[in-house]
């Protein structure tokens, strides 16, 4: 599968490394070329330098042919714009967007985005492990 990862911070780099290691064709996009250092030496995927909402950058990253796109920067407004561009301008159907501020965990889905919300994941995991099944004592 061809997967484009937008944002090469800690989360983006981890996802890109993991997907590439399991045999997917991965392309990572980030405006900061130094950020690709996080991918490590063994990374076999492609990298593109530039802002993810720039259509020329998305084109260069091969978004039009991507099976899935993960939008994983630490800025919600940028993630929203990139996701809209990927969906509205390139017609990609499998787009996952990272939510940073918990406020957007209900709002982004309302605006048509499929989200992954790290703080919520941590909370639900902790709740699931509590003896009462998560209800407050």
């Amino acid at each position: 599968m061809k997967i484009v990862v937008i944002g090469c911070g800690r989360i983006g780099a981890h996802v890109a490394r993991d997907l590439a290691a399991s045999g997917h064709q991965v392309c990572v996009v980030d405006p900061d070329a130094d950020s690709f250092g996080r991918l490590g030496e063994g990374f076999v995927g492609q990298t593109v330098v530039g802002p993810g909402f720039d259509q020329a950058v998305l084109e260069q990253a091969g978004v039009a042919r991507a099976d899935a796109v993960a939008v994983l920067t630490n800025l919600d407004s940028a993630n929203f714009m990139v996701a809209r561009a990927v969906i509205d301008l390139f017609g990609v159907r499998r787009v996952t967007v990272r939510v940073n501020d918990p406020e957007f965990s209900t709002v982004f889905p309302e605006l048509g985005l499929d989200t992954v919300n790290v703080p919520d994941l941590v909370c639900s995991r902790i709740r699931a492990g509590l003896p009462t099944g998560g209800e407050g004592a």
Partner: protein, 221 residues
């Protein structure tokens, strides 16, 4: 009318002033603390501080009852998110977004923002219009008829400059409709004399453009 302005830079500030002068209710939402102080000094009570992309912040400044939401920050991603939140989450009747990079225009339009304001596009159009004034410019073309309404300025080397309308060798099928001179509009007759700088409006066949250019503005060729 209640207008919520997000972004208190030069655009937001001057927009707020203009609307306040016209008697509208305005709130300017700005995130940067130093800028908030400046705005408070200039606008008083109408300033609120906060991150306008957050639904809770927009809610606190009455986004749901706003008649118009104007997202005018210097960042396109911010403006897009705010405008879409206004339309889809808060149900604001009219949203306006400032477009900083004209390359993002298509994306903004697809996202359902009501109106876009792009200073660079406006400036580019103005410059093009000024540059293009020396050339025959199509104002309106009729898709079926092969004719168009065109505009051109009489240039100094035009053989028509100083001549009477009836003596000018007009390309066949063209009709001079209007002459703009010194901010006045003349309806020309055969005895009207054309002057350098006159802006002419003509009905012309589609294939007459080159002949009109040679007749009225040969300098630009």
């Amino acid at each position: 009318m209640y207008v919520l302005i997000v972004g208190g830079g030069k655009v937001g500030l001057n927009l707020a002033r203009t609307l306040l002068d016209k008697g509208h209710e305005v709130t300017v939402l700005e995130q940067r603390p130093a800028r908030v102080q400046t705005l408070e000094r200039l606008l008083g009570e109408t300033v609120a501080r906060g991150n306008g992309t957050l639904p809770s912040v927009l809610d606190a400044v009455g986004c749901a009852r706003a008649d118009v939401l104007a997202a005018v920050t210097g960042d396109d991603a911010t403006n897009l998110l705010i405008a879409v939140l206004g339309t889809r989450h808060f149900g604001v009747g009219r949203t306006i977004a400032r477009l900083n990079d004209p390359r993002n225009e298509l994306l903004f339009r697809r996202s359902g923002v009501d109106a876009l304001v792009s200073s660079s596009t406006i400036l580019a159009e103005l410059i093009e219009r000024e540059v293009a004034a020396a050339r025959v410019r199509t104002i309106l073309s009729f898709p079926s008829g092969g004719a168009a309404i065109v505009q051109v300025d009489v240039s100094p080397r035009s053989p028509a400059a100083g001549a009477l309308v009836r003596d000018i060798a007009w390309p066949s099928g063209t009709l001079l409709v209007m002459v703009h001179r010194d901010k006045r509009v003349l309806v020309p007759g055969g005895a009207t004399g054309l002057e350098v700088g006159d802006r002419l409006v003509l009905v012309a066949p589609a294939d007459a453009e080159e002949a009109l250019q040679a007749l009225l503005a040969p300098d630009a060729e």
